[in-house]
């Protein structure tokens, strides 16, 4: 398929960048900081949370995935690399025990963990509205990273409900890559912002003493202000983000 050979160059560059990032983080000891014994014990629990909630959501027939709450949790209190590992292994184990179609999507889970961890390190997980922004950033990343997988392995149409949207966009004459990415931009924000906010709520519910045991408790230290004002700010921010996403979408659709 010509799409593949065109973008193969981009793909290789992306892989090289990620590999370089991993090596850099390892050599500068940034990666090691994420991984204490508490981290290693938390990760299985986080993966199980991912899978359990992901399945409950299916039972409740809600139009979201919510299968990365554990990933974001680990990413915030342990670090981006621990989060990336959690996401990747979640996918692998989901593939091994529930649905092998989940396997190829592990890069998406990897980046969900990585990006939420990086944003948490930069202080963007300390209040409701910042969490919403982080969720949005993660959503965009997820949309971008899942596009090449959907296109190469499935020709753009995966077995999930969002493919109907992709199909519709394809009918309007869009290119495959654009259609898939637009679908991602539409579907991911709701899921990932909710995921981030739920992870934030969980961290709020844990005792300070407990969170302090993990490598990066400072990421979870909430800023001042009453929760009510913060929630209102968060809602405003979410509305703005949604408008922004639609603006992006419009540009992509037009272009």
């Amino acid at each position: 398929m010509s799409i593949i050979s065109e973008n193969a160059g981009y793909f290789i560059i992306a892989v090289v960048i990620v590999a370089a990032l991993l090596v850099w983080a390892y050599l500068t000891k940034r990666m090691q900081k994420d991984f204490s014994t508490m981290t290693w014990v938390l990760i299985p629990v986080a993966i199980a949370i991912n899978i359990a909630i992901g399945q409950i959501v299916v039972t409740l027939k809600l139009p979201v995935y919510l299968d990365s709450i554990g990933t974001v949790l680990v990413a915030v209190i342990c670090g981006p690399w621990a989060g990336a590992l959690t996401g990747t292994l979640s996918n692998v184990i989901w593939g091994l025990t529930i649905d092998p179609n989940a396997f190829p999507w592990f890069p998406v889970a990897f980046f969900i963990g990585l990006v939420s961890g990086l944003m948490a390190n930069a202080g963007w997980f300390k209040s409701w509205w910042k969490v919403a922004v982080t969720g949005f950033a993660v959503a965009l990343t997820a949309a971008v990273v899942s596009t090449p997988i959907a296109v190469y392995l499935y020709g753009g149409i995966t077995a999930s409900g969002s493919s109907f949207i992709t199909a519709y966009l394809l009918q309007t004459g869009q290119g495959v890559v654009q259609a898939v990415m637009s679908t991602g931009f539409l579907v991911e924000p709701v899921d990932k912002i909710t995921t981030a906010m739920l992870a934030f709520a969980i961290i709020q519910g844990l005792s300070q003493r407990f969170v302090a045991r993990f490598p990066r408790p400072e990421n979870a230290q909430t800023e001042g202000g009453t929760s009510q004002t913060q929630l209102i700010i968060a809602l405003v921010v979410i509305v703005l983000l949604v408008l922004f996403a639609m603006f992006l979408l419009g540009n992509i659709l037009g272009g």
Binding site: T37, P44, Q208, R209, A212
Partner: protein, 278 residues
């Protein structure tokens, strides 16, 4: 020979103001069976963690004073080296299952794999330890399919295989039913009789009276009494503070006040009480 030596140990958990251990001085000789008693919040668990190295290496916080076990000093050691000398088992048997292994035998070998023990020795140690605690018939079971008492014995055994010099047990029977309690105490007793140095934090005073060499009473972070079980467990000091006193002792104390208890020493167990009253 003091195998455990705590000198002037004061410790404060992170994010707290008040120290949980205040000026602890404690020496334990090789082969001694020391029972640690005290009300909840007295610092028994913290003391257990201190001897086993988790304070301060795992919990961080501020510690002054010195902690020495088998010639090694805590501040100069790593936790992963320290645990080779001191084994720790605690209340919740379920949380002590590593989760990394599918059978009890493998679970017991888990620690030995980590420290690089050769395979043949590993198998030998596991078999020997299982005989000691009476769990050889559980070898092929999944750790998750066991009862609380069985799980706690597995936890004890998995520490025993590491062949530590000191065994620290933090209320291992608190979450057990009577059968489980009996099983666990039986295992502990076997180990103590084999000459293992044991520090056991416990509430069950009558059992302690029968098997411990020594009782250390902890109250609000300080050691207020340290000596022979028959002395410590019948002392007025403990009665005053309101812990560590069995009902037989209380009854006999009342009886003594009324002139009905003729013996010098107050009883701790049922047998002693019966003997004293008859």
């Amino acid at each position: 020979m003091a195998v455990v030596n705590l000198q002037n140990v004061t410790y404060k958990y992170p994010l707290t103001d008040a120290p949980v251990l205040k000026n602890i001085n404690l020496q334990v000789n090789e082969g001694e069976f020391v029972a640690l008693i005290g009300p909840n919040g007295a610092g028994k668990s913290t003391l257990c963690y201190t001897v086993s190295g988790f304070v301060p290496h795992f919990f961080k916080g501020e510690m002054t004073g010195t902690v020495e076990v088998a010639g090694n000093e805590s501040s100069k050691s790593n936790l992963h080296e320290w645990v080779l000398n001191v084994g720790l088992a605690f209340q919740n048997p379920f949380n002590q299952i590593s989760g990394a292994k599918y059978t009890v035998f493998e679970e017991l070998a888990f620690g030995l794999e980590n420290i690089g023990i050769p395979r043949d020795e590993m198998i030998q140690r596991v078999n020997d330890a299982m005989k000691l605690t009476g769990i050889s018939d559980l070898a092929d079971r999944s750790p998750y399919s066991l009862s609380g008492g069985q799980q706690q014995r597995v936890a004890l055994t998995s520490i025993l295989v590491m062949q530590p010099k000191v065994l620290v047990l933090d209320e291992p029977t608190s979450q057990m039913d009577p059968i489980g309690t009996r099983e666990v105490f039986g295992a502990i007793r076997t180990m103590a009789e084999k000459g293992m140095t044991v520090i056991l934090a416990e509430h069950k005073v009558e059992w302690i009276a029968n098997f411990a060499d020594r009782v250390v009473a902890l109250y609000e972070g300080e050691i207020i009494s340290d000596g022979d079980p028959s002395d410590v467990l019948t002392s007025d000091l403990l009665a005053e503070k309101g812990f560590g006193i069995s009902r037989y002792t209380s009854v006999a104390r009342k009886a003594k006040e009324m002139g009905l208890w003729k013996k010098d020493k107050l009883p701790i167990t049922l047998e002693e009480a019966v003997e004293g009253f008859s």
